[in-house]
Amino acid sequence: MFKNEEMEINLGPQHPSTHGVLRVKLRLDGETITHCRPMIGYLHRGVEKICENQTFFQGQVWTDRMDYCSAVANNLGWAEANEKLFGITVPRRAQYIRTMLNEFNRLASHLIWLATHALDIGAMTVFLYAFREREDILDMNEAFCGSRLTTTAFRIGGLREDLPPGFEKLVKKFLAKFPSCLEEYENLLNENRIWKKRTIGVAKLSAEDAIALGITGPVLRAAGVPYDIRKAFPYAAYAEMNFDVPTRTEADTYARYLVRMDEMRQSARIIQQCMDGMPEGPVMAKLPKILKAEVNEVYHATEAPKGEIGYYLVGEKGSGNPYRFHVRAPGFINLQALPKMAEGGLIADIVAAIGTLDIVLGEIDR
């Protein structure tokens, strides 16, 4: 007499909470998700192909536009991969400045994550609070390299310019007020019953699954695996920095929220250390005018805010272009876990799962 049917529904590509043009095909039994298949590629621009047809230097502007929320981290990975390919040693002052800017960028990226994730779950005030602090960081980006979002901050071999005068004052002002801002967000969310109900136990991903699926970044650390590339394979000036890797064992959305909040505190700590121990000296290595590669292949991974961002470069002898330019985008790999996290949950949970993965479609589709 009664027919039991599952309903197929498209979440996206035009949807308020898919953070861009992600399309997820859902099969629903009532409101429970029985099957979930993410479909990507709506923002595919062929970044890898374009970079293969441009010189080593020109590739940087494309890395900005992959994950536009964390452009500096992408620039850093790109610059270090190129330096590994050519065998360049970067001056120590440049390393420190890079580290500091990278941590600022981590703050900006985590803030935008917090803002959008909270908005997805319905807490709209956190959104604007987080954007307030992000604005200061973007101002610092602007002071350093003239551009706010797509920074193109570094050069192969170091930096184009030293820090501008007065930058230290900006940093000091920011560091003085940032801890109280973090407390403000936590006051709104940490002990909020509805926030806890919406996040605790939602979108779980065990450590075994996370490692098998190649998940990196805060999502992995919230499952109890203390894998942070800044500690495991130190790069830039991270070997000289003193910081902790925050981990949780609950492996749910709330744990990921706490991990990211703690990471922001650690980032502020690293920035403070960079400011205190900033060495003097040049900021650019001595390089020939034109860089010609030798036959070589490198894979260099750095810890972007969203996870491990890896650049795979193949150099051709005597050529100024990379023969192969490949990006291991953290969002691309992390999104593979979405079916595992969302299946069996409700529609509201997949919104939380997408938010907690912290995806940026520009980087997933490249």
């Binding site: 036959v295 070589n296 795979y312 002898k317």
Partner: protein, 292 residues
Amino acid sequence: MSDETLPQPSETPEAPAGPYVYDYAASPQRQVVMPKTVPLPSLRTYEAEVKAAAAADEAKWQKMLADFETAKAKAEAEGKEAPKPPVRPVPRKDDNDLKTPWPQEAKDDDLHRLQERLGGKVEEIFEQAGELTCQVSKEAILEALQLCRQDIALNYEMLADQTATHYPAATGFAFSVVYHLTSISRRKRLRLRILVPEGFSPESACAVYPSANWMEREIYDMLGIRFANHPDMTRILCPEDWEGHPLRKDYPVVGWGQRDIAFREDRGGMLERIALQKAGQLGINLKQPKAE
């Protein structure tokens, strides 16, 4: 475009027969320069190159010496002043911070363990720029991955990245597929590499590392390598009906699937005129939509 501005038949260029096809060769963006070399890093090739370069250097030096001898003999015979003896040229030292990382002998235990366990299936091991590379035969890749995952001494838990490169100039293979493994517990990275000819389907890594799922789909989408026993071998970034594989070296930067009339290039309106004329021949009115 109003009727006055429509081209008169005498002015219009000859419309090509058949469906309108963009002239790829005419567009500078669609021209493809095929690579001439095979930039596949390898210790063996490097040693051979170094040996060849040393031999060429030596031959050049011998030739200079011989030239000098003949010149000296000639000068002696003619009673002139003897020419200066040649100086062996020293490679110029650049004053910069560039230290090109060359391939080196494998010193790491992991590479030797792999070679010991896999025997003849390992084609080459070397280190370069601090990265370990192990090239295995294309049939043995699944075995090698299983060994890396399960062996206690190796214990590479995570497949961080998998990608491929197109080498159209190579003989015997067309692609290299690289697997970047990470050992979280031992803080090590390893690169496995296989060389794959056109049309060969290597075994999928999904059985050992589930994270390979989307990466292999991306490789198939971008380079056209099909993986055997993959759970879902479909395109991932391009649409299902996309023509060609964009990251191959014979694929133009402005892709085949992109629209044929590049309006930015069409400053004089020539292409639009051709399109209008062609549409007119086919009986399609492009100017006014039909009242349906």
